[in-house]
């Protein structure tokens, strides 16, 4: 059935059954791909489907193709043509809706395809739930990517089948999935609600989908993949949704947003706009902001004018729901503060970069000094620009990724053609680089492609000047002489500037401040041959960083391309991949485990070799450290190896330091006479019978452990047996009390003969500290004044959310209330971390980075904890303890359960709220006196073997023969 709109529509043949579904396929100048789209409908597993092709007056043969398909599949494919080109997707789709006969309607673009089961799955969902609208997963298929890259479109909306009575139940659906194509609509629903696409404007999907969502009485979401959105990355003529560089598009987008907002008001769901505002700040605006560094001033001005107008309609509360940098960018754009906005966009693109000088005011850290005192808007400015929580102020210069703005580029420079002159300025946030610092600089050129980085080339930075908020620099580099690429394989070279501050190095990338700043070719001499390229030119990466690119010689390049894609190239590439694979296999865990068992374990055991490890190598701490230090103190003759996880800093210099899982580590473990550890050596390593494993363990238990934990119990018998084998490696297991015997030893199913009732070596120092008054040296290191008492806050590990641990109380309020009397030390679990604002400086101190908690315990005049095992150790000091159990029900009952009731036996006040905590902290002496009996019982119950001689006992028992005669 071929219908031109000017002819009268042909009446439906009475015999043609009404199809369950109509798929409206729109096409404009896409004759080659149209048949694929249509066949994806004809090949559906659901048979009752018709195709309605609507051609937007193509100038190519699209309509002929459509007619041929209609002739080939009479009754199943229908071809229509608009009287004149509409220039968008709206008009043809609207026409399709009118022509569709199915109970349900779907939209498909001529360059995309439907998944085979899409119609059946949508129909099943629609009929079972009675939904007006069914939406499924869309997948963006990057058709010209090498590995068939696919990206799911907002997959979190489509993890499970879900039916909504109103879109208000899931605002994210309306806000994020604004496509019209991955959905199926009840046809009567479209007609009754007059649902049509707007015509003459881009982004018609946004308005249509918003309209459909808000009109639908019921919406069903299905996790099934229904729609493949084919994306062409390298296309010369980009499709509408890709051409966002154009102001016109942006104008359309803003207009559509305004219409959607109006629609939400009209439909009585204005509250959804808030969610849309948040998304606008986090996503829509970001897309455009990221382009700004690549656009000229005229574009920027025009863009800002359009954006500002819309930004005025954004709910200020929406700024709180975004990441700080989103809010900062939107705010600075509103203020047209270009000097601060462009650096902020740099951080938006390079998220860990610090691009503003930052300023500290009243104990908080702000993005910039401007706007904070604005008489109209200052409060809001302070709110948005406050970046204290990001913790920039707590990081040393080597941990900061500083913005380095390239301000000058001259190439070729001077007489020699191969020289380039560069100048720029590096941001100096909060004066992290002090005025008197010794500054050094070096430009580094390295090939971008991994695996071909055979060599880096360096050039000195001749001038460096401290200018307060920035460090200005200038360098001249003779690339023609100094940069020698191989050619072909290393076509792109990234540039970095390493800044030395009093010998500490921080690395920056060069950000071009304006488009067109860096241009001009320079000669280079590739090692391969100058035939492949003899010039190099600057280019700016998508992240805004300066790089250089070999300019390929066209003729030579064709030859090279042929080589790469021909037989020799294939051979070379497969050889390279094989070599890479072999290297990967050799370095893999399995190979190492085999090396350990089959090679190292056959070597003789070294009689005096001891391998120490604490918390999987994360720290030099705890009982292994205490034993090690006792062995050194007694001058024993032995070979010591300490394992570290990341960096060897902080580990003892008089031991051999090996990285965990390295070959030397495995070799040491295989040959050691003793393993001394507080957690676990790699589970897959079998211990040799000649080796003695002293497991010191790292704390008595409140929470259920080992085979008393649900996850352990749930394992199959075979898995439990495998777990048991790793525990049976322990030859000795240290216990502090009979409580440990009843809990830990039972939970690990240890035999009585392995138990060593000597107490914890780490706690010897605490027993001594109780008897010797006076502050340990760590007090001076932390700068704690003599007249202030020290409180230590050491909560247990919280798994929820990110690594970032939110303190459960207002730390500024604590400092204001108690700052004159107490210094609060905060120690988060090693898997969490905290950020303290500058306002509490010297009154609250983060001590999480200290390897060893014992000196901190010895220093503290009182302890605040919740469920951490530190309570059992600290009790030995007989000082006041506070239990701040704000999430007791959740932690104790919902979790894995506890061995005893903390509320009954806690040797100090158990409080649930911040106010109660502050009330209890009022007088340490009072609490100390009140709970002295409870503390005594607590120590008797949980620390009876901690008598201060644990390390000594262990040395006597295992290492006495190593004493020098």
């Amino acid at each position: 059935m071929n219908v031109d709109l000017r002819s009268s529509p042909e009446p439906a043949t009475p015999s043609a059954a009404v199809p369950a579904m109509s798929v409206v396929v729109i096409v404009y100048n896409d004759e080659t791909r149209l048949p694929t789209a249509v066949h994806s409908v004809l090949d559906q597993t659901l048979r009752g489907v018709e195709v309605v092709i609507v051609d937007d007056r193509s100038t190519d043969g699209s309509y002929d193709v459509a007619q041929r398909l209609a002739a080939e599949y009479p009754g199943r494919v229908h071809a229509h043509r608009l009287p004149e080109n509409s220039g968008g997707c709206g008009a043809p789709r609207n026409h399709g809706i009118q022509q569709a006969r199915g109970d349900y309607v779907l939209f498909l673009d001529s360059d995309d395809v439907l998944e085979r089961n899409a119609c059946r799955n949508m129909l099943e969902a629609a009929e079972t739930t009675g939904a007006d609208l069914v939406s499924g997963l869309c997948v963006r298929v990057h058709v010209d990517s090498r590995n068939g890259k696919e990206v799911k479109w907002y997959p979190w909306l489509y993890t499970t089948t879900r039916t909504l009575e109103s879109v208000s139940e899931l605002p994210d659906l309306l806000v994020f999935d604004t496509l019209s194509t991955n959905k199926c609509y009840r046809r009567d629903f479209l007609l009754e609600n007059g649902l049509e696409f707007p015509v003459g404007i881009h982004y018609e999907d946004l308005l249509f989908s918003a309209h459909a969502y808000t009109a639908a009485r019921r919406i069903t979401l299905i996790p099934n993949r229904v729609y493949d959105w084919n994306v062409v990355d390298k296309a010369d003529a980009k499709s509408i949704s890709n051409r966002r560089a154009e102001i016109a598009n942006f104008t359309h987008r803003m207009e559509i947003h305004r219409r959607v907002d109006q629609l939400l008001v009209d439909r009585g769901v204005a509250e959804l706009k808030f969610h849309k505002d948040v998304k606008f700040l986090k996503h829509d605006l970001v897309l455009h902001l990221r382009d700004l560094p690549f656009r000229d001033a005229a574009y920027r001005q025009e863009f800002a004018a359009i954006a500002r107008e819309y930004l005025e309609s954004i709910d200020p509360a929406a700024y709180d729901e975004t990441e700080p940098i989103h809010a900062i960018c939107a705010y600075l754009l509103r203020k047209s503060d270009w000097d601060n906005l462009l650096p902020a966009v740099d951080t938006l693109t390079n998220r860990n970069k610090v691009s503003a000088p930052l300023v500290e005011r009243d104990g908080r850290v702000y993005w910039c000094a401007e706007h904070l005192d604005d008489p109209d808007d200052g409060d809001f400015a302070r709110h948005v620009l406050d970046v204290t929580e990001l913790g920039y102020h707590t990081k040393p210069v080597e941990k900061l990724f500083l913005r380095n703005e390239l301000t000058e580029y001259q190439g070729p420079y001077g007489g020699a053609g191969g020289t380039v002159r560069l100048a720029g300025r590096i941001t100096n946030p909060l004066g992290v680089v002090p005025p008197g610092a010794r500054l050094t600089g070096e430009l580094e050129f390295a090939a971008r492609r991994k695996g071909v980085r055979f060599q880096v080339f360096r050039f000195p930075v001749a001038q460096l000047r401290h200018e307060g908020e920035t460090i200005a620099w200038e360098a001249v580099a003779d690339l023609a002489r100094g940069l020698r690429p191989v050619g072909v394989v290393d076509a792109v070279w990234d540039v970095r500037l390493h800044l030395g501050v009093d010998g500490v190095r921080t690395t920056t990338r060069l950000t071009a401040s304006e488009p067109g700043l860096a241009t001009g070719q320079l000669p280079v001499r590739p090692r391969l041959t100058r035939l492949v390229a003899d010039r190099i030119e600057p280019q700016i990466s998508s992240r805004g960083h300066l790089a250089f690119r070999l300019v390929p010689d066209k003729k030579a390049n064709a030859l090279v391309e042929r080589g790469i894609h021909g037989a020799p190239g294939r051979l070379a590439k497969s050889g390279y991949r094989k070599a890479k694979k072999v290297r990967k296999t050799l370095a893999s865990g399995n190979t190492k485990i085999r090396l350990y068992h089959e090679a190292f374990s056959r070597l003789p055991v070294k009689k005096r070799l001891v391998v120490f490890e604490s918390h999987l190598g994360r720290q030099y701490s705890d009982s292994p450290r205490a034993i090690y230090e006792e062995m050194r103190r007694q001058g024993l003759e032995f070979e010591a190896v300490w394992a570290y996880a990341d960096k060897p800093e902080g580990f003892p210099k008089d031991a051999l330091l090996v990285r965990r899982w390295s070959v030397p580590y495995l070799k040491a473990l295989a040959r050691a006479a003793f393993w001394i550890d507080n957690q676990s050596y790699p589970l897959k390593l079998t211990k040799r019978p000649e080796t003695t494993y002293i497991q010191t363990w790292h704390g008595s238990a409140l929470k259920r452990m080992g085979f008393d934990e649900p996850e352990w119990k749930l394992r199959s018998r075979a898995e439990q047996a495998a777990q048991q084998r790793t525990l049976d490696r322990f030859d000795r297991f240290l216990v502090r009390s009979e409580h440990d015997v009843r809990t830990l030893a039972r939970a690990f199913r240890l035999q009585e003969k392995t138990l060593l009732r000597v107490g914890y070596p780490r706690n010897d120092a605490l027993v001594r500290a109780r008897e010797t008054p006076g502050r340990p040296s760590v007090a001076a290191e932390l700068g704690i004044p003599e007249d202030k008492k020290v409180l230590l806050y050491a909560p247990t590990f919280r798994q929820r959310g990110q690594r970032r641990f939110e303190l459960p109380f207002d730390v500024e309020r604590f400092a204001d209330t108690f700052g004159d009397r107490y210094v609060l030390l905060v120690r988060s679990h090693y898997l969490n971390h905290v950020v303290l604002p500058p306002s509490v400086r010297d009154r609250v101190i983060d001590v999480s980075a200290h390897h060893d908690v014992t000196p901190l315990l010895a220093l503290a005049d009182g302890l605040i904890t919740d469920y951490s095992s530190v309570m059992f150790d600290y009790a030995l000091l007989d000082r006041p303890m506070f239990f701040f159990t704000y999430d007791y029900e959740e932690y104790v009952h919902e979790g894995r359960g506890t061995y005893f009731d903390l509320l009954e036996r806690a040797p100090g006040p158990v409080v649930r709220t911040e106010d109660d905590l502050y009330a209890a902290l009022g007088s340490l002496e009072e609490q100390s006196a009140k709970y002295s009996g409870a503390r005594e019982r607590f120590v008797a119950d949980f620390g009876e073997y901690d008598q201060g001689h644990a390390a000594q006992n262990i040395v006597d028992q295992f290492f006495a023969q190593w004493r020098r005669a």
Partner: protein, 370 residues
């Protein structure tokens, strides 16, 4: 009860399993469905690939069965391939005899390897996985399901939740179909005996070790209650030893395997299930049909599909024996709660009656023809 006149067309239905009569849940289900389909006027044929190791007595059955191999098929390799092609021809000839609108239901993925080679033109093929997604994931069946069921007309699992998980793995033709209730006892439990009942093989998967751990926490608070453990199996000895070590010999009764499940349930006031893995557990359905409230580890989507936590039973985090003990304690301490949940359970479980499930199958057959 089959409605009259029966609103659905008669069809040829083939149920293809690893074995026609292998002891276990799948064969029980297969023959229950075969009987129900036959009663509805369908022409049913049950096909097995090989004879089973553990035979289940089928009794008189009103439909034919065929087993493709006399013994085990040759081990994988050329001989297996050749034999598979040969047996597939046999399947093809069975399938050819079907009237239009015929249905092939493959109950286990291994059998699909043969069905795939046969000519199923004109028939709709339904593949099934009778276990929870997460459980399947730990076995070799996971990859095989993804491979061999990729192109069937519909792949069926036990619950919506399981179906969504398979869809997430790219198996886009997946839907779900619950198992029917095996029986509705005439006489519900009076819930007067102070007895908690467990029924299941004494095998690691059923987690009786965890049940004993939980019982050790709850028993001291209820000295007048007993735990009756029905079932036998390879773990009996170690479980009895564990029971003795926990000092529970006075409150635990080892009842062995029972042929009278309704009777065992009538003597229960609470039913407990402590499995490590389940699919769509019949034991819970049977207990609920007998008006006995359940306490169970929520170890599979099928479990919370059957038991509505807090409404007609109580669920606990898998492996958390302390929590299971608290759930048991709640039910054992409160007769009114037991009565309320037990009666609610008996009503709620009606959504899985055979009539309802057969209707859903008929709707599916019709849907696949559209």
């Amino acid at each position: 009860m089959t409605p009259y006149p029966y609103p659905y067309p008669p069809r040829d239905v083939f149920l293809v399993a690893n074995s026609v009569n292998e002891l276990g849940g799948v064969a029980t289900w297969t023959h229950q469905m075969a009987r129900l389909f036959t009663e509805c006027g369908h022409r049913v044929h049950v096909v097995g690939i090989t004879p089973p190791e553990d035979v289940m007595e089928l009794g008189d059955i009103p439909y034919p069965t065929t087993t493709l191999y006399d013994g085990q098929p040759p081990s994988p390799g050329r001989a297996r391939d050749a034999s598979m092609r040969e047996k597939a021809t046999l399947l093809t000839s069975l399938f050819r005899a079907a009237r239009p609108g015929g249905i092939v239901i493959v109950t286990q993925v291994w059998a699909m390897e043969w069905v795939k080679l046969a000519d199923t033109t004109g028939l709709k093929v339904i593949g099934m996985s009778h276990e929870a997604f997460e459980y399947s994931k730990k076995t070799s069946r996971f990859r095989r399901v993804l491979k061999h069921y990729a192109d069937v007309d519909r792949m069926l699992v036990l619950t919506r939740e399981d179906a969504d998980l398979w869809i997430g793995q790219g198996l886009n033709n997946t839907s779900f179909m619950p198992n029917p209730l095996p029986f509705i006892p005439e006489e519900p439990s009076p819930r007067t005996e102070k007895a908690v009942v467990s029924i299941g093989r004494l095998h690691d998967q059923k987690g009786i070790d965890m049940l004993l751990d939980a019982w050790a926490e709850v028993a001291p608070r209820h000295p007048d209650w007993t735990l009756r453990i029905y079932g036998s199996g390879e773990d009996e000895e170690i479980l009895r030893k564990q029971c003795t070590e926990l000092g529970l010999d006075d409150s635990v009764e080892w009842r062995g395997r029972t042929s009278d499940v309704p009777g065992a349930l009538r003597g229960a006031s609470v039913f407990v299930q402590s499995s490590r893995g389940e699919g769509f557990p019949l034991a819970l359905m049977e207990a609920m049909a007998t008006a006995v409230p359940c306490a169970a580890f929520d170890c599979a989507p099928g479990v919370h599909e059957i038991v509505r936590d807090g409404e007609d039973g109580l669920l606990a985090t898998p492996g958390n024996t302390g929590e299971l003990a608290r759930r048991l304690d709640t039910l054992m301490s409160d007769k009114h709660l037991r009565d309320r949940m037990g009666e609610t359970a008996r009503v709620n479980i009606q959504r899985y009656t055979t009539d309802e499930i057969v209707r859903r199958w008929e709707e599916l057959f019709g849907f696949l023809e559209r």
